[in-house]
């Protein structure tokens, strides 16, 4: 990269090497680029772009008018901004030479901005939670800043033949003419219409099902069908498997590797890539640990499939369908982590993002949803509270509906990460469809509640079932409402990477999969000793504390912080919403501290739940005054 008169601005290979430096240091866990990453430090793309633009404006003003840019009259500032817009947005990339040519004044601004960033990473910034000495190697610092420059260059440079930048004009930065595109407006409107159409279709379908007869209550068993079940030796053996594979090898190994990488202890070779930190959020572990996790998941799949395979010969089509879907969801959960292997050390960030979202989105908003639906239906069928035919049909249709929006909906994470406009069109429309079944998930919650009261013995399963009701509630609120809040392109343009994202993320991830995990754990613990009655007080306390704490955390802290950030982004530019200047203002600090009550209530509930589970092993959580149904049977 050179100036028009041939002077080098960035050395050959520094941008690609800088991407690796950024990854090895933790990448998306340390601020964000293109809006993807963590939220304490700034978005480096937006921060660089604003600093570079402001530096150029000031240099022009001082050189030509002898005054700083901020001291100029509005018409003079407007004239400089237009000059800046025309200079910054022009695409000077030469595909043949693989070079970019920049104006000398821009080269000076790049050097000044790079010096600021080198200072941030070398001397640290408490406001960004970056310690002193995060990166001290001069060549690594030079490469790191070259990579951050490239993300900002892509964000303000127009694609050949278009008037929008490689990132669809993201981030919002009026200084360089980065404003909402026509595509963003159009596909936001279309996505809302698609959502309304989907809701209409779903309401019609739900209404048509209203007349279906309920399963015959007389066919429900009079006693718990799992009363005489005992865990098999292979089921007990899985405990060892999870301890050895999950904790010892994977967690200890990958966390050690990540720590060494972030602390720059893995050298400048390739060890960071294989043993250290990938730099990509949610698939953070080094390549070796990713492969170990994939192998572990495939082993888990083998254990599940080996147990379920013989039951696939069951003559009942409902049972076969349920089991086949359960196995398919398990195959997808195990196999789709393989997409994490889709990127390599030198993969373009836009393509790495595509594969990263294959793992995160297709897991969370695709196959985990299918898995959750199948497992809950499977458990109710196992308890003979619903017929396998009804469960099989419902699960097949629900899976088709979830996946119809969920698979192509992956694109809604990629609106602004160096992708063409067609990604925005498909992502906006199909992810709007994802919301439709979530808005109707209340039917499922009510059905679960009804089943929890179906027969007297089901009462002993009521806390696992209440967890499944919580899954339905948070699916609607966390995934549906808060998900759609940040989903349309116009909304995400301003909200990407603000606290509005964890509003959706926390409510949906813990609310749905946290409660699903707790519900499944309680169901298994219940089924291990169905004859033993539980003390329900601690469970009731934990259930309401965890739900209440999660809601308090969202409503009193991260939602207001996110909405105020959104207003700041709309009024001043995206960089400002993520700046220390705004986030550490007194009002925002108070709102951030307001997380403490909700988080504390949540943590208290979690501790009581853990205590309850340990109490099951020691006997402290058992209600011995309750009659033992097995002894009653024998008596």
């Amino acid at each position: 990269m050179t100036t028009a008169d041939g002077r080098k601005v960035i050395e050959d290979g520094d941008i690609a090497a800088g991407q690796n430096v950024w990854q090895a240091m933790g990448g998306m866990e340390m601020g964000s680029v293109w809006g993807h990453g963590s939220y304490v430090a700034p978005d480096w793309t937006a921060d660089w772009l604003h600093r570079e633009a402001a530096t150029i404006l000031d240099r022009w003003a001082r050189a030509e008018l002898g005054r700083p840019y901020e001291a100029l009259d509005p018409p003079q500032r407007a004239a400089y901004r237009e000059r800046l817009r025309l200079m910054m947005r022009v695409n000077t990339y030469d595909p043949g030479q693989r070079t970019i040519v920049v104006d000398p004044v821009r080269a000076e601004a790049i050097r000044a901005t790079a010096a600021h960033f080198e200072d941030v990473f070398a001397r640290g910034r408490a406001d960004y939670a970056i310690p002193a000495g995060a990166q001290t190697d001069p060549s690594s610092l030079r490469r790191l800043t070259a990579f951050i420059f490239w993300t900002a260059w892509a964000a303000c440079t127009e694609r050949p033949g278009t008037r929008v930048t490689y990132t669809n004009n993201w981030p919002f930065e009026p200084l360089v003419g980065n404003t909402l595109t026509g595509d963003a407006w159009i596909w936001t409107g279309v996505s809302v219409i698609v959502l309304l159409a989907g809701i209409g279709a779903m309401a019609w379908w739900q209404a048509s099902r209203h007349g279906e007869p309920d399963p015959d209550p007389a066919r429900r068993p009079s006693a718990d069908p799992l009363l005489h079940t005992r865990p098999t030796p292979s089921q007990r053996a899985t405990v060892k498997y999870f301890w050895v594979v999950s904790l010892l090898i994977l967690v200890a190994g990958s966390m050690t590797g990540q720590w060494l990488s972030v602390m720059n202890r893995l050298g400048t070779g390739t060890a960071w890539f294989y043993l250290g930190h990938s730099g990509y959020a949610y698939i953070d572990t080094g390549r070796l640990w990713q492969i170990v996790l994939l192998v572990g998941l495939l082993l888990w799949l083998f254990l599940v499939a080996r147990a379920a395979w013989p039951a696939l010969r069951d003559p009942d089509p409902g049972t076969r369908s349920l089991l086949a879907l359960f196995l398919l969801a398990s195959v997808a959960i195990a196999g789709f982590y393989g997409a994490a292997l889709g990127y390599g050390r030198h993969t373009n960030l836009a393509i790495a993002e595509y594969w990263r979202w294959w793992v995160i989105h297709l897991w969370v908003e695709g196959f985990f949803e299918v898995f959750a639906t199948v497992v809950i239906a499977f458990l109710f069928a196992r308890l003979k509270l619903v017929s396998t035919g009804t469960a099989g049909r419902s699960v097949l249709l629900a899976s088709a509906i979830f996946l119809a929006g969920g698979i192509i909906g992956t694109a809604h994470h990629l609106y602004f990460s160096g992708t063409p406009a067609v990604v925005m069109a498909l992502g906006a429309c199909f992810s709007a469809l994802e919301v439709v079944p979530l808005l109707f998930v209340g039917y499922e919650g009510l059905e679960n509640l009804r089943l929890s009261r179906a027969t007297p013995w089901v009462r002993s399963y009521r806390w696992p079932i209440y967890c499944f009701v919580a899954v339905a509630f948070w699916n609607m609120v966390g995934a549906g409402l808060f998900g759609f809040m940040i989903n349309p392109p116009v909304a995400l343009y301003y909200m990407q990477g603000l606290n509005t994202t964890p509003v959706h993320g926390h409510a949906a991830l813990f609310g749905v999969y946290g409660w699903l995990g707790i519900g499944l754990m309680l169901f298994c613990l219940r089924a291990l000793r169905p004859e033993a009655a539980w003390k329900e007080g601690p469970l009731r306390f934990a259930f309401w504390c965890i739900n209440g704490g999660l809601m308090a955390m969202i409503l009193f802290s991260i939602l207001p912080v996110g909405l105020l950030q959104t207003r700041a982004a709309v009024e001043h530019g995206y960089w400002y919403a993520r700046s220390a200047e705004f986030l550490h203002s007194p009002g925002m600090n108070t709102l951030r501290w307001l997380r403490v009550p909700g988080d504390s209530i949540f943590a208290l509930g979690a501790l009581v739940l853990v205590g309850f589970v340990f109490g099951l092993a020691t006997g402290h959580s058992l209600d011995r005054s309750h009659p033992n149904p097995l002894e009653e049977e024998q008596g």
């Binding site: 941008i15 693989r98 048509s208 089509p317 369908s321 836009a350 393509i351 249709l397 088709a400 698979i407």
Partner: protein
């Protein structure tokens, strides 16, 4: 579900739609959509149709997502050598 007179409706002819196509739509509507919404077929038969629907959704959706990936690769911001 049955809408009497749909097959004889003049609207399709006025719009230039052939009577044969109109009859086909009517047949699909009356025989398939109707029973899809209000299933009355044997359970195994319904289950097979739901499986076909699910497999079609998965195949078509992943084909589109794969095509999206190719477009992203072709349009990714270039990284200069310097």
């Amino acid at each position: 579900m049955f809408l009497p007179g749909l097959a004889e409706c003049p609207a399709p002819r006025m719009l230039g739609i052939s009577p044969a196509f109109n009859n086909l739509v009517f047949f699909v509507y009356q025989r398939d959509l109707d029973s899809f919404i209000f299933p009355s077929r044997p359970e195994g038969d319904n289950m097979r149709r739901y499986w076909i629907l699910l497999i079609a959704v998965v195949v078509v959706s992943f084909s589109v997502l794969g095509w999206v990936g190719l477009r992203i690769r072709a349009g990714a911001p270039p990284m200069p050598s310097g």
